[in-house]
Amino acid sequence: LIAEDRARTGRSLSAGKATVVLAMAMLIAAMLRHRRNVRRVGGGHGAGLRRDRVARQAGRVRVNAEDRDLKLTTTAAEDLEADRGFERSLVAREAAVVALIAALIVVRQLLS
């Protein structure tokens, strides 16, 4: 495609191809980020279901709050780690959306 484009326009990379490359790069970055977050605290796709469980497994820090009632089920440290992981995963989610839209724009350009 690039060779054909060069022959046609004299440029090695048209705006359309550049968008494709950018979209692919963002998609790969989003996937890598997603994998890292899942490994860390269960962020990324499905995090809403998984993060508490993963955070409990990863909850190495337990806070000994003396005045805490016995009915507390998870520690605040576990909650905190899970919440931080979820917030970090949002970057990847947004990147995935931007990649999707970029892909749609490319499709539209190709159609026209």
């Binding site: 995090a47 440290a77 905190l80 917030e87 970057v91 947004e94 959306v97 999707l100 839209i101 539209r108």
Partner: protein
């Protein structure tokens, strides 16, 4: 030749893009929320929290709310519930008598013999009692139907470890089970208006509103704003938020602290609730007029991004009507420019729709599984056709023209022009259609038709229409009535 009139008309069209650009800005900021280190100064603390629950004839929902509140993951000795009974005439007093004996150290019944003054007066009655004693270190104002998840309160109180933080709010989710189409529209809306928008406001360092059903305020902040909340408006929660921020405190949103609430199931119910909110927003806009666009104002309330967010919501219908008027005028005086403006506006609308919708669905996947269809249909089917017509219309039209030419039927006709004119007008007409839907539901003759038409017209135009109605009410100085949203106790079972 481009005249001044052309420039003005194009500017009017582009004013419709203001809302879209601000929407994209908010969702972009929400995505980078983690980079603002929202949990940097968080420490596990358990201040003594006095929960204020204003209640007027809430027997249907109150018992469960109290039981759930007393079962929170929070030290029992640090939690007290003050139910402020606003002269209820149902079983609320009897229920509270039972609950106070069941939880003698935890539940307190404060009754006002003269009620009907509104929620703010009821809350202030409770605050006077609570602040009259030294026990409470923080006050949580909530509603009788709001169900807290077990860790929600302690997820909120941890922010108060930072003395600069004066108030915290959380993510209120629509919890009616089984919900109907309207509940699911609201469920999706809350992802955008709370989970995303409030994260964005965290990044900007300023919150527009503590959600009325979950306002945790430190005692220091509450005393600094006078120990009471505003009683002169319909947006007492927004007034409290602004006042706390102007007093020099930060207000935080914790999107991982979740509570569930019952929201309206019908257009009429939603109309009453949102009209109250919109009127409240107008009142805030006027009352805090010295704050807007003054960057040196305490708490970033005067910043440009915050003003953009605020005014894009308050004046959204105005921008939309201006865009529509600009397009229609251009249609008659400069058809090519009208087509270009139309395409530009709808292309931007299409981009914003995709960005906001898919970001929302990924932001709260749990809600998305339930409300994805309402999320996709949020602008309405007709608007969706216009969006995709704007994006792919020229391509489709070109293919159509080729096919027509092949059978000898090509040529400019009246139909495309009428379609374009109708599309230009639809921005405004959709609001009129939404008003018609409300009337249709009120008359009650064809209840089965309301939901399908709602999908056709869209939930977004309905919200715009409510804002216009609220603005009209406010302009003519209509009486400020607290139209209570009926609660039936339909919130599902959540952990």
């Amino acid at each position: 030749v481009i005249s001044v009139l052309h420039v003005v008309l194009v500017a009017m069209v582009l004013s419709g893009a203001t809302v879209l650009i601000v929407g994209c800005m908010q969702f972009s900021l929400a995505g980078v929320h983690a980079l603002s280190h929202p949990y940097r100064n968080v420490v596990e603390i358990y201040p003594a929290v006095a929960v204020v629950i204003p209640a007027w004839n809430e027997a249907a929902v109150l018992e469960r709310t109290i039981d759930r509140m007393m079962a929170l993951d929070y030290p029992a000795t640090k939690l007290r519930l003050y139910v402020i009974d606003d002269a209820s005439t149902d079983d609320t007093p009897a229920l509270l008598a039972r609950k106070t004996s069941e939880y003698p150290e935890g539940v307190f019944h404060l009754r006002r013999e003269k009620g009907g003054e509104g929620k703010a007066h009821t809350i202030n009655h409770g605050l006077r009692v609570i602040l009259g004693e030294p026990w409470a270190e923080a006050i949580l104002v909530t509603d009788a139907d709001v169900i807290f998840t077990t860790t929600a309160l302690r997820r909120m109180t941890r922010h108060l470890a930072d003395p600069a933080v004066g108030a915290v709010t959380c993510y209120i989710k629509e919890g009616s089970r089984p919900g109907n189409y309207m509940n699911r529209f609201v469920g999706f809306e809350y992802i955008t208006a709370q989970a995303a928008a409030r994260r964005a406001q965290n990044v900007l360092g300023v919150q527009a509103c503590l959600a009325g059903g979950a306002q945790l305020i430190s005692r220091g902040a509450l005393e600094k704003i006078g120990g009471a909340i505003d009683t002169t408006s319909l947006a007492e929660d927004t007034f409290t938020t602004f006042n706390v921020e102007l007093a020099g405190y930060k207000v935080k949103f914790d999107g991982n602290a979740v509570v569930w609430a019952e929201e309206p199931r019908s257009i009429v119910g939603l109309w009453k609730q949102r009209q109250r909110w919109s009127r409240g927003n107008f009142q805030v806009t006027v009352r805090f007029r010295r704050v807007w666009l003054r960057p040196r104002t305490e708490g970033h309330l005067g910043s440009l991004p915050f003003a953009a967010i605020w005014f894009s919501i308050v004046f959204m219908p105005l921008f939309i009507v201006m865009a529509s008027a600009g397009l229609v005028t251009l249609f008659f005086i400069d058809r090519p420019l009208a087509v270009d403006s139309f395409k530009a506006l709808w292309a931007l609308t299409g981009f914003t729709y995709l960005f906001v919708t898919f970001s929302s669905l990924l932001l709260d996947t749990e809600t998305a599984r339930r409300c994805w269809f309402q999320g996709l249909m949020f602008p309405g089917l007709i608007n969706l056709l216009l969006i995709f017509g704007g994006l792919f219309g020229p391509i489709l039209a070109a293919h159509f023209a080729v096919q027509m030419a092949a059978v000898g039927l090509a040529g400019p006709g009246l139909a495309p022009k009428l379609v374009l004119l109708a599309a230009d007008l639809w921005l405004t007409l959709s609001m009129v259609a939404a008003y018609g839907l409300k009337k249709l539901e009120e008359c009650g003759r064809v209840p089965w038709l309301v939901a399908p038409l709602m999908y056709l017209v869209g939930y977004g135009p309905l919200l715009c229409c409510v804002t216009v109605a609220a603005f009209a009410q406010e302009l003519r100085g209509a009486e400020m009535r607290w139209d209570k949203t009926e609660k039936t106790g339909s919130v599902g079972e959540f952990a």
